[in-house]
Symmetry: C2
Subunit: 247 residues, 2 copies
Amino acid sequence: MFNKTHTKYIQSLHHKKFRDENSVFIAEGPKVVLELLDSREFICEQLFATDDWFRNNEKLLQKYSGMEQLVVKDFELEKISLLTTPNNVLAVFKKKAPAALHNFKGKITLVLDTIQDPGNLGTIIRTADWFGIENIVCSPACADMYSPKVVQSTMGSLARVNIFYTQLEEWLQQNSGIKKYAAALHGKNINSLKATKEAIIIIGNEGKGVSDAVMQLVDEKITIPKIGEAESLNAAVATGIILAAFC
Amino acid sequence: MFNKTHTKYIQSLHHKKFRDENSVFIAEGPKVVLELLDSREFICEQLFATDDWFRNNEKLLQKYSGMEQLVVKDFELEKISLLTTPNNVLAVFKKKAPAALHNFKGKITLVLDTIQDPGNLGTIIRTADWFGIENIVCSPACADMYSPKVVQSTMGSLARVNIFYTQLEEWLQQNSGIKKYAAALHGKNINSLKATKEAIIIIGNEGKGVSDAVMQLVDEKITIPKIGEAESLNAAVATGIILAAFC
């Protein structure tokens, strides 16, 4: 039965420190929870859901075993949820062991230099998944891929994209054979790029762009042509436009 | 001097009802506040900022007059701010009188059919501004353009894009001479579109896409080709990719 210990535990997982200690993360809402369950990439430890939701998904849930299933009332779900409108189900999943850095030849790899906003990171992961990007390499200062806001904005894509956290300078030097492009305010017009199968595309921080140290390792700066007056584009929107040009 | 009445008033403006009653809205942080001040599109009524901020911007503020200026302490700013990390300044601006619906000939106009998430709406306004889009037509069920989250995510572009709220079916029929495109899951590949100077581009709701009633008035469905597995793209990302193809 759902109790105060559960409440405290889930609330603690809103914070990175406790997610790291327990090596788990939370996901909310039918869409995200079912996509993660279905992917079999993440082991589900606990499922907190309303009575109705369990009843409506009884058959579906028979496919998955091993997780604790707890019925919660609406007011209880509200206590553990981070959503403005809690959405029937919240699950605790085991984190994956970080994938080993492997061969990035013959692929388009997305590199994120200090994307700090969790919503942006999640949306970028979802966008990468749409364009069939297998791997995203994040600088250590990027938002935590397991932060609840990241998980929610990936809309389930977390299960399909490999995400690595590593020092970018070192990693870029190790992959010196692959052409490296970085989003910048003054660079080559992305409309003059040809679709390609192998590239490293670097997106920089929301306010500061790509750091100087990383920019020194780049082969070509690329730019989304500006017609109007906005000072910049949102990082996830820019990523989408650039991936559309490359893919 | 800053007092409890101010706190109550600003907090009330977090809600649409009170923004409508007072015909004002709030903006936060140096970037957004200064862009709105500088645009002269919106009249500033009150400026709440830290002592430091007022001192650093003394010269700049001489350009603007008529607004009440109140020094707040950090803990007072926290009380009235909606940001996770309050950012030195919060301003109350008068709303603009809604622009009259005018001629959309010879222009690219963006139409939003029930974009409900304020962050998405704000990011779409910012993206439209980047691509030089003058006008956005919103269905009445779209998020409120003056909601604090919309204002923050526009990053100042609110001052440069005209935003109308109206019944879409009627408006689309009135503009029958302009070719209408709608984002859809199965339509013409956007890569086969040619850049154009006149078009109506319709983006649908985050979950449901463009409504049936609106879709019946569309000349061509358009689609961002999918390579990977994500079920859909974020609405703002999709808007960015489509505008990049059109502009």
